[in-house]
């Protein structure tokens, strides 16, 4: 490795000026074409970041519209049909266009090869293709949403979805195409882990983020084809009335639910496992300690991925399932809780007696821990059949899934964004603003969704446009929380945009982390490393003595 980097000096000249032979990936080619046709995983990750953020904004605006509508009983700003389309669009955009690709496609793409000491992912062109497949699917789905819209909710339950006159076909077809992007990314990452690890990186020396992405990719590859088929069948049925899930023609709508949740339950782990991976990196870096129980954390990712496939029936406790099935699915659901608890205890064990450096990403870690534990506990409660029956399809469920999957994912996404911002752009953001906005977001999130737990417990059903007077106070509280949340996001957007241009130069390893990705320059050169392929003699989370603040740059 070249020992010094000009970016280490504060207020350094624009990127790359001193790197004539090895310009950073950001400036290596500045034409539009050099971005749009790039096969560099880092640029692809960055382009994913752009689109994912854009779709997050779209989904967020629709979330606020939902909340404003629910501010008062009866019509507030839209009619009932528009409301149905709004929450469908919100759910669809957030799930398929934001949450599923967010961490793997952005940070997985960017960091995985760096963390494995590889020059790129195994199939760079497939990687680029997955970006465009994702965009094509997004365009088709959104076009359908704007031309007629879909009112089924993101779950497309039959037989309603096969009979509704709103535009089912393009939206479902769009989602189907996005599935291909997900599969392509998954295959790419799995093969990369298998074939591109640098000498010295054995399976059990892979950083935990890589483990998490690996487990996620396995789920993506195994589950996505099934929902792909299902989406096609529903589309065909909506267009031609083939009767596959239509009880009037002898079909079985519950079969649809089985197949749907066979994907969609594991899909929540597609969203949350990468979040767990991010947190493992962050907790180790900011506690300056080797991760407690590395193997347990790695294996529990695989464990979650595995049992996640056998828990889908908990969405169908009230579908006429036999009591025996319900019991089995209930127990399997709780197993997921066991594996998650393994992780939680290991993270806490890592922080314990660590030299905690309370930076913005660590603040998100704290929020994350709360949302995961609290959301997870409500999940265990919902996995209990006798409790799920009254809570089913109420706001309790909405609050639960927002807590666990949205809460955990958003925390991890923001944590990752802050943690790796210096790596990706070579600049530092303002720490004070970072902490302030983190506090706002965590507060806003709680204020939005804790009232929804109470609403659900009091019996307010989900996906309802109107509600009795007595629910209003809690709905107002929830909307107020949502505004706080939105405010937090605006602040983040502002100071990160500022940092992008005026931020201090970050240097190679501003957090003095032992993660492999910090071995390379910030921002890294096109092929990730200057000189020969690096070797990694030490474990990725290996801090000798946490109390010694002096942690040398990783080798």
């Amino acid at each position: 490795m070249t020992p010094s980097s000009s970016l280490d000096t504060a207020g350094a000249a624009p990127h790359g000026e001193h790197h004539d032979h090895h310009p950073s990936y950001l400036v290596d080619g500045t034409t539009i074409k050099s971005w749009l046709l790039t096969v560099d995983h880092k640029r692809i990750g960055l382009m994913f970041l752009f689109w994912v953020l854009l779709f997050f904004l779209v989904g967020g605006i629709f979330a606020l519209l939902i909340r404003i509508e629910l501010l008062t009983p009866g019509p507030t700003i839209m009619d009932a049909m528009t409301y149905n389309r709004t929450f469908t669009l919100h759910g669809l955009v957030m799930i398929f266009l934001f949450m599923i690709p967010a961490i793997p496609a952005v940070f997985g793409n960017f960091m995985l090869p760096l963390m494995l000491g590889a020059k790129d992912v195994a199939f760079p062109r497939l990687n680029l293709a997955s970006l465009y497949i994702y965009l094509a699917g997004a365009v088709i789905a959104l076009w359908g949403m704007l031309n007629g819209g879909l009112d089924t909710g993101w779950t497309f339950y039959t037989p309603y979805s096969t009979h509704t006159t709103t535009t089912v076909a393009p939206v479902l077809f769009g989602a189907f195409i996005i599935g291909f992007s997900s599969i392509a990314t998954g295959i790419n990452f799995i093969v990369t882990c298998h074939t591109m690890r640098a000498p010295g990186i054995t399976w059990f020396k892979m950083p935990l983020f890589v483990w998490a992405i690996y487990a996620t990719s396995c789920i993506q590859v195994l589950a996505t084809p099934v929902i792909g088929l299902l989406l096609v069948l529903v589309t065909v049925e909506n267009l031609f009335s083939f009767g596959m899930f239509d009880p009037a023609r002898g079909g079985d709508p519950v079969l649809f639910q089985h197949l749907f949740w066979f994907y969609s339950h594991p899909a929540v782990y597609i969203m949350v496992l990468p979040a767990f991976g991010v947190m493992s990196e962050i907790v180790s870096t900011y506690s300056r300690k080797n991760i407690f129980g590395y193997r347990a954390v790695a294996y529990s990712s695989l464990g979650i991925a595995f049992v996640g496939f056998f828990a889908w029936g908990h969405h169908m406790f009230v579908s006429g399932q036999s009591t025996f099935d319900a019991g089995v699915f209930g127990v399997l659901t709780m197993l997921v809780g066991v594996f998650t608890a393994i992780k939680v205890f290991n993270w806490i064990g890592t922080v314990y007696k660590g030299a905690v450096d309370f930076k913005t990403p660590f603040a998100y870690f704290c929020g994350f821990l709360f949302f995961t534990v609290f959301g997870g506990m409500t999940g265990i409660a919902l996995g209990t059949v006798s409790l799920d029956v009254p809570w089913h399809d109420t706001y309790f469920v909405v609050a639960h899934f927002h807590f666990i999957m949205v809460g955990a994912t958003i925390m991890a996404f923001l944590a990752a964004l802050h943690y790796w911002f210096p790596k990706m752009f070579g600049r530092m953001y303002h720490e004070g603003w970072g902490l302030v906005s983190a506090a706002l977001i965590i507060l806003g999130f709680n204020a939005t969704f804790i009232p929804q737990f109470l609403l659900g417990n009091n019996g307010m059903p989900r996906r309802y446009y109107d509600y009795p007077e007595r629910f209003q106070a809690l709905n107002v509280a929830s909307t107020a929380g949502a505004s706080l949340l939105a405010f937090g996001f605006i602040i983040i957007a502002l100071y990160l945009a500022y940092a992008l241009v005026y931020g201090k130069a970050a240097g190679k390893n501003p957090w003095r982390s032992k993660g492999y990705e910090w071995v390379s320059e910030s921002p890294p050169p096109t092929h990730n490393f200057v000189g020969p392929q690096p070797t990694f003699p030490e474990e990725p989370h290996f801090y000798v003595d946490p109390k010694k603040a002096e942690v040398p740059d990783a080798v």
């Binding site: 195994a122 199939f123 084809p225 088929l229 049925e237 083939f242 009767g243 079909g251 079969l255």
Partner: protein, 221 residues
Amino acid sequence: MQSSAHTADGAAPVPRLAAHFASLEVQTHAARLGMWLFLATEILLFAGLFVCYGCYRFLYPEAWAAGSRSLDLTMGTVNTVVLITSSLTAALAVHYAKEGKNKMVGIMFALTLLMAIGFLVIKYFEYSHKFHIGTLPGRYYTYEGMQMPGITLYFTVYFCSTALHALHVLIGMGVLTVAMIRAFTKADFGPNNFTMVELGSMYWHLVDLVWIFLFPMLYLV
């Protein structure tokens, strides 16, 4: 960014090593692993249909028995034989590619493609017969000769799965055509460079394999 080093002209086929792989073995291993994973997803795609098949078969055993008896067993059997044979020629193409016999690779793929066309022609006759008598899915079912609960669903499953399979036949034909043209015009397959032939014929084996499931499911039992 340069992703592959090109060969000096005229020289014997030199394998292309992409810049980001450590060695050729690793590169081939990666390609193969990627293809296996992709094929697994394809099988899972059909698995969804198999689940539908299983459920409805369980719900409507009479309709399933009557439906499968109404299919033309001869045509189905001929098609099975045709497809298995085409898989053999595809496998032979890989064998020749490893020996660098590009002309034979092209010929083998041409034979495979010919049989694929044969398969589709037979399928066409089967389909048109059904369109003619009205044994169609869902609301299009008009056949008077067979009336029982679930019979329209049998044909829904039949058409969905055979159509999806036929689509895979078409995609496979596209892949093999490209490989065939390359074998004939560029002749650059050899002991170190046969990944494309190998992966193409792996895909073709998948097409064959899926049919080997579909045939007994729909025609025999």
